[in-house]
């Protein structure tokens, strides 16, 4: 019967020593963990956790399917080898423990024997080998490739070496076990890696075996003891962070009420005690991989903002108690964030960098620490209800020569077309809304606009940090929308789209909100809108962060572009959920960038490098930022920047004779 003896050749005295050492290791590990947990309790209460099935699914997805982790090829494979190796070895050790203590009742060899034993053997052997390879890959990455965002201290290398040594000595022990126990030779084939070692160890004594055991065991116990004292803490914390993640979807900020402010006298994240326990815990889940910083557009543009350092700085700050001030995060870093959520999307442990950044912004704005053009934009937003500071009476100037119906209380329409402030006032966005309108008319959609009754959704106010200005605008808009019984709303701006779709429900505004590309796609699918595949120019597409990454819409724009062009879409490398921000989000549209620090410049270079003649966009702010950057770096042959709707209209007009131009000529498409 294939099996093995537990504590083979380890004397009872030595077993007692082993148990004492194990206890010590568990105490050191537990103490480190409890020490961190105490710090989490400095925060506001842990948010309520409900809907467990959904959460377990999410945990399984992130932990076992490595959903986020495998977004990086090398690091993803490396992590999978280490994770599954440690996971399987952990289970294996538990099986051995169950056998060992069960033996007190059921007699020796009651469980860990026969084919089950052999199955365990081969599994443990292979996953152990995986762990060894994974750890080696980690060491190579750390000391040969040295990704700069990974960060490096002596402890990082020491722990990896410790893990590597613990695993390697495990195989030595396995080899020694086979070599020293003739009974096991018969099924040594189930330990392929262990056998490799045993081949070299024939004739060793049981004393040598015990010696190897005494090298292996302290190494393993040291790994366990070291877990809470470095980035390896994520082993415990990340699963808890993931399963208890906030219910708010990405990009949705938590509202605060005036009553709360009056009660607590606090707004936003001014010190550690203003964060909640989940947020503090999530910092301990950070394993410092640096993916957040790698994808940060502000960081890439040479700004001080470094999302990983924000998390690490705050984590360090936790040790100073609840009253430690978040002023450790510099103004320069804080205001550089475009809220593009690239960091949030990449983070394998689901840290919400943007929630933290916007929370600190909220605090600083309330403290009167906002200056400059962003402050001006908010003042204009507050008095004119749009960040351009233009009068509402000019909101329909773009439509002077088009026949656009205003919403009437007694007329039902299929959709309400939300123009947005950019669409109303910004010349390039006006061209987009004109194109959309013409497409809607062509598809015989009954629609209407709010005209002067429209006001900013409040998005810039919320992202910059004036939550109450946001709420004031949101409530006013909700009252207008409910007044006209709006149900389906289409927007041309992903920021309006996101705010109305995902954040207005916080204030009782529940509407079906569609981005124009989604609605136009629907019209084509229903056969109501026919776009001739007539354009012959190569096109690339720049995904807007708030459409693609935050709201997951990447298909509709591509369907539309493929429906217009004879040439398949030329894709840029960073696309869909990995799209690279134009630099306008998070209120950055209203702040100054020095000419060489515009995130849009990098993006423009990428888009130009595709060789496409046209860069299609789906966001008025991307259109401005990408457009300006392309003009700056593109030279004579710079591609044109057009909204998808404009391209569609172009495709329509390419085949149909043009209607006579209106006298003003405004908004004509080039």
């Amino acid at each position: 019967m294939p099996t093995r003896t537990i504590f083979f050749h380890i004397s009872p005295t030595m077993q007692v020593v082993f148990y004492l050492l194990s206890l010590l290791s568990l105490i050191v590990c537990g103490w480190g963990f409890v020490r961190r947990m105490k710090l989490w309790r400095n925060g506001l209460p842990f948010p309520k956790v409900t809907d467990w099935p959904k959460r377990i699914k999410s945990l399984a997805d992130q932990m076992f399917a490595h959903r986020r982790i495998r977004r990086r090829s090398y690091a993803g494979k490396m992590h999978a080898l280490i994770f599954f190796g440690m996971f399987v070895l952990f289970i294996g050790t538990n099986i051995v423990a169950v056998e060992h203590y069960g033996a007190l009742i059921f007699g020796e060899h009651w469980l860990y024997k026969g084919s089950f034993y052999l199955l365990c053997k081969i599994t443990l052997d292979l996953f152990g080998a995986g762990l060894l390879i994974g750890t080696a890959l980690a060491l190579i990455r750390r000391y040969v490739f040295k990704p700069p965002s990974l960060g490096q201290n002596t402890m990082d290398g020491a722990f990896l070496l410790l893990l590597f040594a613990a695993t390697l000595t495990g195989f030595l022990l396995e080899g020694a076990g086979i070599a020293v126990d003739p009974k096991r030779l018969a099924f040594a084939g189930f330990s392929p890696v262990g056998s490799l070692f045993s081949n070299e160890m024939h004739g060793i004594t049981t004393g040598t075996y015990a010696l190897i055991w005494w090298i292996h065991i302290p190494l393993v116990l040291s790994v366990i003891a070291a877990l809470p004292y470095g980035r390896w803490l994520h082993l415990f914390v990340a699963p808890i962070t993931i399963i208890t993640q906030p219910d708010r979807s990405m990009g949705v900020l938590e509202p605060v009420t005036m009553a709360q402010v009056e009660e607590t006298g606090r707004v936003g994240l001014g010190n550690i005690g203003d964060l909640n326990s989940w947020e503090l815990m999530s910092f301990d889940g950070c394993m410092e991989c640096g993916r957040c910083t790698d994808v940060c557009p502000a960081n890439a543009a040479g700004k001080q903002l470094n999302p990983k350092n924000i998390i690490l700085d705050l984590r360090k700050l936790m040790a100073h108690g609840a009253s430690a001030s978040t002023d450790v995060i510099s103004d320069e870093s804080l205001w550089a964030c475009t809220n593009c959520h690239a960091c949030v999307r990449e983070c394998p442990t689901l840290i919400r960098h943007v929630d933290i950044i916007d929370g600190i912004r909220r605090f600083r704005v309330a403290e009167g620490r906002l200056f400059g053009p962003a402050a001006t934009a908010l003042r204009q937003l507050s008095s004119r209800e749009n960040p351009w500071g233009l009068p509402a009476s000019q909101r329909l100037d773009w439509a002077k020569d088009l026949d656009i119906p205003l919403v009437q209380a007694d007329t039902e329409v299929e959709v309400l077309f939300w123009i947005g402030c950019a669409g109303a006032f910004e010349p390039r966005a006006q061209k987009t809304v004109r194109a959309i309108t013409q497409l809607l008319q062509k598809a015989n959609v009954s629609f209407a606009v709010l005209g002067p009754k429209e006001r900013c959704t409040g998005d810039p106010a919320r992202r910059i940090g004036d939550e109450f200005l946001f709420q004031q605008l949101a409530e006013a808009n909700i009252s207008t929308l409910n007044g006209v019984k709006a149900k389906r709303i289409i927007t041309q701006c992903p920021h309006c789209f996101h705010t109305m779709k995902n954040e207005y429900p916080q204030f009782g505004g529940n509407y079906e909100v569609l981005h124009h590309t989604q609605y136009l796609n629907e019209l084509i699918a229903e056969g109501r809108l026919k776009i001739p595949k007539s354009l012959n120019d190569s096109v690339t597409y720049h995904d807007p962060c708030f459409l693609a990454r935050v709201n997951g819409e990447t298909e509709a724009p591509r369907n539309l572009l493929n429906s217009t062009s004879l040439i398949p879409l030329t894709e840029v490398d960073r696309r869909e959920s990995k799209t690279f921000c134009c630099g306008a989000g998070g209120g950055r549209m209203w702040m100054d960038d020095s000419p060489n620090e515009r995130p849009g410049l990098k993006r423009a270079e990428e888009l130009i490098a595709t060789g496409a003649k046209t860069v299609a966009v789906g966001c008025p702010f991307c259109k401005v930022m990408v457009g300006d950057s392309i003009a700056q770096v593109g030279g004579e042959t710079a591609p044109q920047v057009l909204d998808i709707a404009e391209l569609m209209l172009k495709a329509v007009q390419a085949l149909t004779p043009r209607p006579p131009l209106p006298k003003t000529g405004a908004g004509e498409l080039e």
Partner: protein, 251 residues
């Protein structure tokens, strides 16, 4: 050091002023704010304090009960306490400078820091008249203020027609602020709520003796004519002719 910052309630500069049919200002749609130049003065006072000096900032507003709103905003911006002089009659720079002089005497500040003009009627007289009434040195249209000589004087860069002039004034003095001095901070609602606990001293004008008579009367209000569109000219010669013969701006 004590800084007195007089502020004025004015219509929001981003808003549009409409007249009613009888020619008075249509107040129904107006949002009221602190006069932007006064906001700059207050910001400067806060910055002087933030540079580390021991400074008490006292904001004063003169007007009807509704003006308290702007006084609260001033407290939210950083004033330590407020003085609210309730005055319900029409006023002009003569009256306001008289009342401010009375406030000055009760507060005894080292500096009166105020906007160079109100953006509503644009008189640009109150600071100067106040200095004259108190017989104090004045530095108007400041674009840079430095406190020097251990707090006994201020070095002020002024925006004047010929360029920039730097004066040193002995304190106490009246300094009026230009647009270039600073960019005021943004005041959000929570700051205003938090500032509610700051003290506001209400003063009745009867304490100040007989108030001078109004010297300015409003005859008529008119909305400016809409701007006429320009036109394109074909050549430089045509432009010169137009500038010389039509616009008469060159000889």
């Amino acid at each position: 050091m004590k800084i007195l910052v007089p502020i004025k309630r004015v219509p929001d500069p981003y808003g549009r002023i409409r007249l009613t049919s009888d020619g008075s200002i249509d107040a129904s749609d107006i949002k009221w704010v602190i006069n932007p130049f006064d906001e700059i003065a207050l910001e400067e006072a806060v910055r002087i304090r933030e540079q580390g000096a021991e400074v008490e900032i006292v904001a004063v507003i003169i007007g009807e009960a509704v003006c308290e709103e702007q006084l609260r905003t001033a407290l939210a911006m950083g004033a330590d306490r407020g003085i609210f002089v309730e005055f319900n009659s029409p006023a002009d720079p003569g009256i306001i400078s008289f009342l401010l002089a009375a406030v000055f005497k009760s507060v005894n500040p080292d500096i009166v820091l105020m906007g160079k003009q109100g953006i509503d009627d644009d008189f640009s007289q109150t600071g100067q008249r106040l200095a004259a009434r108190l017989n104090l040195p004045q530095a108007t249209f400041a674009s840079k203020i430095e406190i020097v000589s251990n707090g006994s004087a201020a070095r002020v860069a002024r925006e004047v027609d010929a360029g920039r002039e730097t004066l040193e004034v002995k304190l106490p003095a009246v300094i009026t602020t230009d647009l270039r001095l600073n960019e005021p901070r943004y005041v959000a609602l929570p700051a205003i709520i938090k500032a509610r606990s700051k003290p506001v001293n209400r003063v009745n004008t009867s304490e100040y003796g007989s108030i001078p008579a109004l010297q300015i009367s409003v005859i008529k209000r008119e909305v400016p004519l809409p701007r006429k569109g320009g036109r394109k000219v074909g050549s430089v010669d045509e432009l010169i002719t137009a500038l010389r013969d039509e616009a008469k701006v060159i000889a």
